[in-house]
Subunit: 234 residues, 2 copies
């Protein structure tokens, strides 16, 4: 978002939890976005964002629970399928569910037979439980290395979309997430943050069995040097 | 090469200097290639390779000074230009000159007006001096972080091709190489080894001024966790 605003010549202010990765903060600052810190909770983020919005008349772009954001994140799956053709399975990481519900909506629209699987860390499995029980479950500040999935729960919009378009959920242990980050680094030469590597973790660990042509959405590369070094040297 | 041999079901033996990066050794072993170590000199590599060749009847694939290898490495530039269209400038790292002379040959064939620039580390500038003096210059075991460019000199085949098809040479200091690796990691989310990041270093440092549409060949991602961590935390 910081990059897009810079390219379009729009002033961007990013509200970010105090414990967000320094790499993410540095990236925003590098793209000339203003960074405002909040407490690492949904209420704090919403309060700080609302105050800025009211004071400056800013347009708010929420992290996931908004139709435009969901649609935008869904272009990941759309572009993937447009580029590689028909897929039988699509594997997508899940935090607040924006990327997953958007990708699932786009994928099912292009091919109703595609199997869409959401992946969460074992210790942040709120969406998996929500999907299985069909009632919204939460998780409280799980200390997973996949910091993009520490969100307390799916959103008002993403939960029903997940129930409608996602076929399955699986979880992966922390060690599998690190293994996936290492594999992407050493074999694919890609810098992927732990949250973005959940799909690869699921395949490497065998919790999703590949059927036919499989697509994996890798999302997010905001990983600190310290975190990456620790994972690589593990 | 190890990966290609594995895909084709061919047994591969890789002769590698003792001081090659552990990541490179691990990658070869991961793709089921046999790794044989030699001293970090051209004569030792040639001697060990020749002995293996004579004993087992192996087909030798030299690192750069062979028409097929040069042609194969030239496909990097060919595919780049086929994918992105006409380029005005092409920037390519230079070690033994296989990638550079192959890329320059391919690029000039596709567009005689393209400007091709070779990049070396300041402390391993043998090819730059060879290019400028038009006589083959050498360098002795330079301790550049760009270990893929520690080659003593251009080869019998690559030197004349470089003279024929390359328009300019520039060098970059060690600090610029590290800066380029960091930039590729944090901004492009790519794992590129120092040797492969020379072109980006030249642009970031301003030693090559971008004219028109610029293509940069990034080559090699065999970087150890320790080396990457050190560069990132620098």
């Amino acid at each position: 978002m910081a990059l897009v605003c810079q390219l379009l010549g729009i002033h961007a202010t990013v509200v970010m939890p105090r414990d967000a990765s320094p790499a993410k903060r540095a990236a925003c600052a590098g793209y000339k976005a203003e960074v405002v810190l909040c407490e690492p909770t949904n209420p704090s983020r919403e309060e700080v964002s609302k105050a800025l919005q009211e004071k400056h008349g800013y347009t708010l772009i929420p992290p996931f629970d908004h139709p435009d954001v969901i649609a935008g994140q869904g272009t990941a799956a759309m572009e993937l399928i447009e580029q590689v053709g028909v897929l039988d399975t699509l594997i997508v990481p899940c935090g607040g569910g924006g990327l997953l519900s958007g990708s699932a909506t786009a994928a099912k629209h292009l091919n109703p037979k595609i199997r869409v699987v959401g992946i969460e860390p074992e210790i942040a499995d709120d969406a998996t439980r929500s999907f299985r029980t069909k009632s919204l479950q939460t998780v409280k500040d799980p200390q997973t290395i996949a910091d993009g999935t520490r969100t307390a729960s799916l959103g008002k919009l993403t939960f029903p979309l997940v129930l409608q378009y996602v076929d399955d959920f699986q979880t992966v242990p922390e060690e599998a997430i690190k293994e996936a980050v290492r594999w992407l680094f050493y074999r694919m030469k890609l810098v992927v943050e732990p949250s973005g590597a959940l799909g690869v973790a699921a395949l490497l660990r065998g919790v999703v069995r590949p059927q036919g042509r499989v697509g994996v959405v890798l999302s997010g590369g905001n990983v600190d040097a310290e975190v990456m070094a620790k994972i690589l040297l593990d």
